[in-house]
């Protein structure tokens, strides 16, 4: 059984001022299995970089090459597409099988907004009738489903062999939907990259 998400770390960037001992090399830390050097430059802030200086995303992509890296704008864009998809599902003419009730749309939009705030990767969606919409995250053949009705929310985790877990919640628990998602991601860490030079990326494990 996969471990639940229990810990959130803030992975700080090494940002040095120009007056620091920037000329010294910092050798690799065997405990961490990656190496880094400090580069001294003429800009106000020096960045740890492997190889040449670029944005912090390149450093993290190199250090954690097997870890999905998501840029914040990408996350926002995916949730925007999700919102547009939900809007389409209440305004569809014809294709009645895909239509959802307005109350379901509002509940799903609220949940999506909360999930985005909590930096949960955007799900895919589907429906099996007008009274609910399902948010779906897939990791290879494992699936997490969040069924959102007007007043209720249910979570379901499925492996290729069987349904492994189900949880039902009342409408009040819509206030914190992210807490209902122990498996909101595959369990692998993701790194969120911010465009801002001053924002620290968050390492979510």
């Amino acid at each position: 059984m996969r471990a639940l998400w229990t810990t959130v770390y803030h992975q700080a960037m090494v940002i040095l001022g120009s007056t620091s001992e920037s000329s010294a090399d910092i050798s690799s830390d065997p405990a961490r299995s990656y190496s880094y050097t400090v580069h001294s430059g003429s800009s106000e802030f020096d960045f740890v970089e492997i190889p040449p200086i670029r944005s912090e995303s390149r450093v993290l992509k190199t250090c954690f090459s097997s870890v999905p890296v998501i840029e914040q704008w990408e996350l926002s864009q995916k949730y925007q597409e999700l919102g547009e998809a939900l809007s389409e599902m209440i305004t569809l003419e014809g294709a009645d099988e895909w239509r959802i009730e307005p109350s379901v749309y509002h509940a799903a939009s609220y949940v999506a907004a909360k999930l985005m705030e909590d930096l949960v990767p955007a799900p895919q969606i589907f429906t099996h009738g007008p009274e609910s919409v399902v948010f779906n995250w897939s990791d290879h053949d494992d699936n997490l489903y969040l069924t959102i009705s007007a007043n209720e929310i249910s979570a379901l985790i499925s492996s290729p062999q069987r349904i492994t877990r189900r949880m039902d919640y009342s409408g009040n628990q819509l206030l914190n939907p992210s807490h209902l998602l122990p498996f909101a991601h595959s369990g692998r860490p993701i790194i969120l990259i911010s465009r801002s030079d001053t924002d620290l990326p968050e390492f979510i494990e």
Binding site: E97, N143, I163
Partner: protein, 218 residues
């Protein structure tokens, strides 16, 4: 009108038809199974039975016909919009016993009975009902998701297809249909059995058309 009990090992197919504007990036198109609530509180879905779509070519022919019929229906209503034009992308296969097994599926206690029943509907001989009864007091929407999750694990495929009328769509959404956990579809019938299935279908279909046209003319 139907043909009696569908044998456990027989294949059924679910067609993937959706509005052309629905992007695979946002929608899990492969998991869409419309389960409507009936007056007897059962959940009803639609499949087609291999006995009356004996080859993959027949499966796709039926899929294209269904998409075309939906578009024509919208045109007749005056509600057709090109961006919501129904497009047939392909099909997934599952066995009749996978549906019946829902009754004993783990973490799916709400299902009291589940079956596939041949039911000719709208003049379509291959149409089959997927009918599921739930126990009283079940949370219907959550149970529907659990049913979809269980069935998804049992599907094989996809069988990709582009209808002739949709060749202008580029890229065609069929390329995005994912492989389900049970893997690719494989027709395990011997060539002799396939030949027999084809002959049987042709005979049944011709008799059905004569009967159906006679009924329509009354």
């Amino acid at each position: 009108m139907g043909c009696g009990r569908i044998p456990d090992g027989d294949s059924l197919f679910r067609h993937c038809i959706h509005p052309v504007s629905f992007s695979r990036k946002t929608f899990a198109l492969e998991k869409f199974i419309h389960l409507r609530r009936e007056s007897d509180d059962s959940l009803l879905g639609s499949l087609v039975w291999e006995r009356f779509v004996p080859t993959v070519r027949h499966v796709h022919k039926r899929g294209c016909e269904m998409a075309h019929q939906r578009n024509e229906k919208e045109r007749a209503r005056g509600t057709f919009k090109e961006k919501y034009r129904s497009v047939y992308c392909g099909a997934y296969e599952l066995k009749a016993n996978s549906v019946r097994a829902l009754v004993s599926a783990e973490n799916l206690d709400e299902v009291s009975s589940a079956d596939v029943i041949h039911h000719i509907e709208g003049g379509e001989i291959a149409h089959t009902d997927l009918r599921i009864f739930l126990k009283p007091g079940s949370h219907v929407e959550a149970t529907k998701t659990a049913i979809v999750a269980s069935l998804w694990n049992a599907f094989s495929g996809p069988l990709f297809h582009k209808c002739v009328c949709d060749l202008d769509i580029d890229p065609h959404p069929s390329i995005n249909l994912p492989r389900p956990p049970a893997g690719e579809y494989s027709d395990e019938r011997s060539w002799l059995l396939r030949l027999w299935c084809l002959i049987r279908f042709q005979i049944c279909y011709r008799f059905w058309r004569i009967f159906y046209e006679a009924q329509s003319n009354i």
